[in-house]
Assembly symmetry: C2
Homo-oligomer: 577 residues x 2
């Protein structure tokens, strides 16, 4: 894939795009995404382009558009857009001559910067955009633009506000509420998710380095939109700095004392009034300091390598892990695409437990703990799914959203390239290793942290309950006198309906044997916990099943070529040439 | 307002735009709109632009997004879009050099033509787009593009299909149904309005002058979208002609034998298979012939004027009247903006009865008859509204959609420019002259056509029922011993809550006096009709009220300066300087 990125030896915290190409909007929108685990925003530009995808999400605010769709994170009304019209022309990087272009993200401070000089007809302006999602105040988004006039005296127009006409690729999750302006400066919009009935209050305020450059203003309220229009004059060689501070509150926020819309409207406006007095620079500095104190200072990770991009890649990965993890609320978890796009609809899958959780377990155990709380709260959904499939215990959903909802994987996916027919997504039905993946994350966290309080009250229960599922799932093969796990999808999702997938069988065996060990240990060492869990889960009975079936659970072995077959049929598949 | 239009002396049927300006997209989209009364499509371009508004509507298919919104015509999944990528560049008229640009609509044939030569970097192509909405087959939309390579050998890509990600300015009315391709050539999409549960089946097929220029194809199904991708090579000086034929069927269509989705899918595909064999030119010719036979031939209207644009303006007005009138179905009427945009949400207001109906009454009475059937079916909605307001008879809704729904005017409108607060729309509550406007249209039609069957079974009843409303609406002023109509909005909607609006009072008096005359006439001449209507409406009793109150209904008179005041307070208003 073509890239316009540039990385520099002495800048392990900077990713930068050096020239603009309308074809690569999506890439930078997600690679440069901003967030703080509560709020996530794709880094779409202020001005509009064909092919852009504006998305802003708030963790956990799932909504279902229609019975025919699954629940997803709704695309929240947009703050980012700012329309600049100069001499009747919209700012457009495709037109005229662009020099000194750079678009960069500082992974250490979370600051996004875009700079360029635009020359087109009689327009000659220098733009410098800055943006951050606060790591200090979860609700806050800051934007700033400095415009310097390198040409003759000019005038221009800015239209900026809150735009609720956006959708999730066509699905609209919000019913329109009130739109208003408080004391002539703060614009506010209230909207409510149509099915899950979550209220959103959003506010935005504009501030200027020099108000005398404003000739007039006007407010414009249209369908799902509230905007303020400003007309400026700008003499040659003069510049103006415009800041836009915005915040979002929702009725499921844990940090709100009350969840009434009236209360949120007042909090949102009051906080913004304080913020605008502090100013963009101060708020950005507070956010950068929060990154330093909460993330980088205590657990620096350095790679010694001859390739300096190794360190950059690590910083990049850590940055994204921290902008996507909802560490503020145990009812939420990391989405498969984080908060950077609509893919996988904001749902949590095995990636979280197997690939991302270990990083937090080893470095920020209090964050790992929150992710495990999410799985503990998810037991109710896992019980639902097991019962639906006539199994016992906890069968975790392949995709999960609100923890008690159970399975939310969609049933139908994109078209098959050959037949043009939509393909059925089998993962939600038969990709079952997720239950041992959850247990693995739990066990690793307990081993690494010795967090006994968690183990006793949440962790052991998840290990037992998933093992209980597995033992009910096993199928007895009388001919071979062994237990098998047939008709599954393993981690290789291109092979559907396979028998005895190695990863699935081995991880199930691990799950059951871990449960046996924990059972025996706590029965001996912690009878109080044991009694409680035994009563709750019927451990004695399920323990006998574990002991009886585990030795006969079929674990495929490597063949004479030392190849462990992925599943029963894998080695007999035809070659594709 | 700036215009890029050109009109020519000898072309009273052609409106033409001579150069492209991204700022004027909306204007041409609606001025050049295509339609046939069933289907209406804004003339957005094939390629996308910032600021465009793609809209396609099917008459009568009203849906309400949410309890907080009013019912509206949903924006139907789009056929128009065709994405051209040449040497990695999307076709974009803002880039490079455009010559020989013209965008024109032939008002006589309904053919839309766009022509230009695009030179940009190593691209040098001539495009000729043609488009029509068939006046012969209500469901059919035809598009064609001829691309001629004026530069070196090149290759390009086309992505075209059906796009259901569009909304009504953010409100999504459709639940996504199936997307499929039939026999590898026809793309189909099924969707259903979320609240009113109307099924839409849409199909599209592509055809080519020379299939050997296609290197490969692929189908792409994504959320609410089905597209086909084609890769072409095009030698220097060669050209290719691509046609795209599309159709729409809905489950409220009167011309369908069955309304099951399966039946519609099959009809839609079968018709399209026939159509593609006939080809774009033949179908366009059939449509132009239908315009000639159904509209122009029998009622030519010529203006003798020294200004040739008078004739052009008349042709333009007639063209639009005929593309917006749903003459195929009496359950529908003309929307305030026709089918050319989202304004007024596709609702019918007094404009139809007072300004548009007379044209049809005088020239195409069978169409006028359908519009009056709509008002007759609307009596149930008018009764609802009267009852809600504690009046009697038929109080017609200020805005109406599906006839039995009653009032559908929104309660809140755009922001007040001074206060920034949303303004309350009072028309739905107190703009009451609509009831006499309806009666006026009825009476004019009867007088012009002598359609006695209509008069007896529908027309007289509407005149009586509206007069019955008015007499229950009158307020007695004991001091002045007269009847008044207070607290209304007249046709000047900038004056709300006025008393004795002249238009309202005079038209109410006309309505009552007309009812009296009709009552007396049919009582004498057609006792059968009289008895039926007397029984149904209690005419004898209401007749006594008409006779008693009409002489005392206050009709403001001209003052000594010969000015008839618009309302009681009008002449005492302060001057605005």
């Amino acid at each position: 894939m073509k890239t316009l990125m540039e990385y520099q030896q002495n800048q392990p915290w900077i990713i930068k795009e050096n020239s603009f190409d309308n074809n690569f909007l999506s890439k930078c929108e997600s690679v440069f995404a901003l967030g703080n685990g509560y709020l996530g925003v794709r880094s779409a530009f202020e001005e509009n382009y064909i092919g852009e995808k504006r998305d802003m999400f708030v963790s956990g605010t799932f909504d279902r558009f229609d019975k025919s769709e699954v629940t997803e994170l709704p695309n929240v009304p947009d703050f980012i857009q700012m329309e600049f019209v100069i001499n009747g022309r919209n700012l457009d990087l495709n037109l005229g001559e662009i020099t000194q272009y750079s678009f960069s993200l500082n992974l250490k401070t979370g600051q996004l910067i875009r700079h360029f000089i635009w020359k087109f007809a009689d327009i000659h302006l220098e733009f410098n955009f800055r943006r951050f999602v606060s790591f200090d105040d979860l609700h806050l988004l800051g934007q700033e633009v400095t415009i310097r006039n390198l040409g003759a005296d000019t005038s221009f127009q800015l239209k900026s506000g809150i735009d609720g006409q956006l959708t999730n690729s066509g699905s609209q999750h919000f019913a329109e509420g009130t739109k208003d302006q408080e004391k002539n400066r703060i614009l506010q919009m209230v909207s409510t998710t149509a099915q899950s009935r979550i209220d959103f209050v959003q506010s935005t305020i504009h501030d200027f380095s020099d108000r005398s450059l404003i000739d007039k203003t006007r407010i414009e309220i249209s369908r799902r939109q509230i905007h303020k229009l400003y007309w400026f004059h700008l003499k040659s060689n003069r510049s103006i700095k415009i800041s836009k501070l915005s915040n979002v509150y929702t009725s499921i926020d844990r940090d709100l004392n009350q969840k009434t819309v009236e209360y949120m409207i007042s909090v949102s406006a009051n906080v913004l009034n304080f913020d605008v007095q502090k100013g963009f620079d101060y708020l950005l500095k507070k956010s950068a300091l929060a990154w330093e104190e909460k993330v980088w200072r205590d657990f620096p990770i350095e790679i010694k390598s001859i390739d300096f991009t190794d360190q950059l890649a690590l910083n990049f990965a850590r940055y994204h892990l921290h902008i996507m993890v909802p560490k503020h609320d145990g009812r939420m978890s990391i989405a498969a695409k984080g908060l950077s796009g609509e893919g996988y609809k904001g749902h949590t899958a095995w990636d979280t437990d197997i690939f991302m959780l270990p990083y937090f377990t080893m470095t920020y155990p209090e964050i790992a703990r929150k992710l495990l709380t999410y799985r503990y709260l998810g037991l109710s959904g896992a019980h639902k799914k097991a019962a639906l499939n006539h199994y016992q215990g906890a069968q975790y959903p392949w995709e999960s959203a609100w923890p008690s909802n159970g399975e939310v994987a969609p049933v139908w996916g994109a078209a098959d390239i050959v037949t043009g027919k939509p393909t059925k997504i089998w993962s939600g039905f038969i990709e079952q290793h997720i239950s041992s993946d959850v247990a693995f994350g739990v066990k690793q966290y307990i081993d690494a942290t010795s967090d006994l309080r968690f183990a006793k009250f949440e962790g052991y229960e998840m290990i037992f309950d998933t093992a209980k599922f597995w033992v009910s799932r096993l199928e007895y093969n009388a001919v071979k006198d062994r237990y098998e796990i047939n008709n599954v999808v393993g981690p290789d999702e291109y092979k559907e309906h396979v028998n005895n997938n190695a990863f699935t069988n081995y991880s199930a065996a691990w799950n059951i044997s871990t449960a046996i060990k924990v059972y025996e240990k706590i029965k001996q060492q912690d009878s109080k916990s044991f009694d409680r869990l035994n009563k709750k889960l019927g451990l004695d009975k399920t323990y006998r099943q574990w002991k009886e079936k585990l030795p006969k659970l079929y674990l495929p072995k490597a063949n004479k070529d030392k190849i462990l077959p992925q599943d029963d049929s894998y080695l007999s598949k035809k070659f594709w040439i």
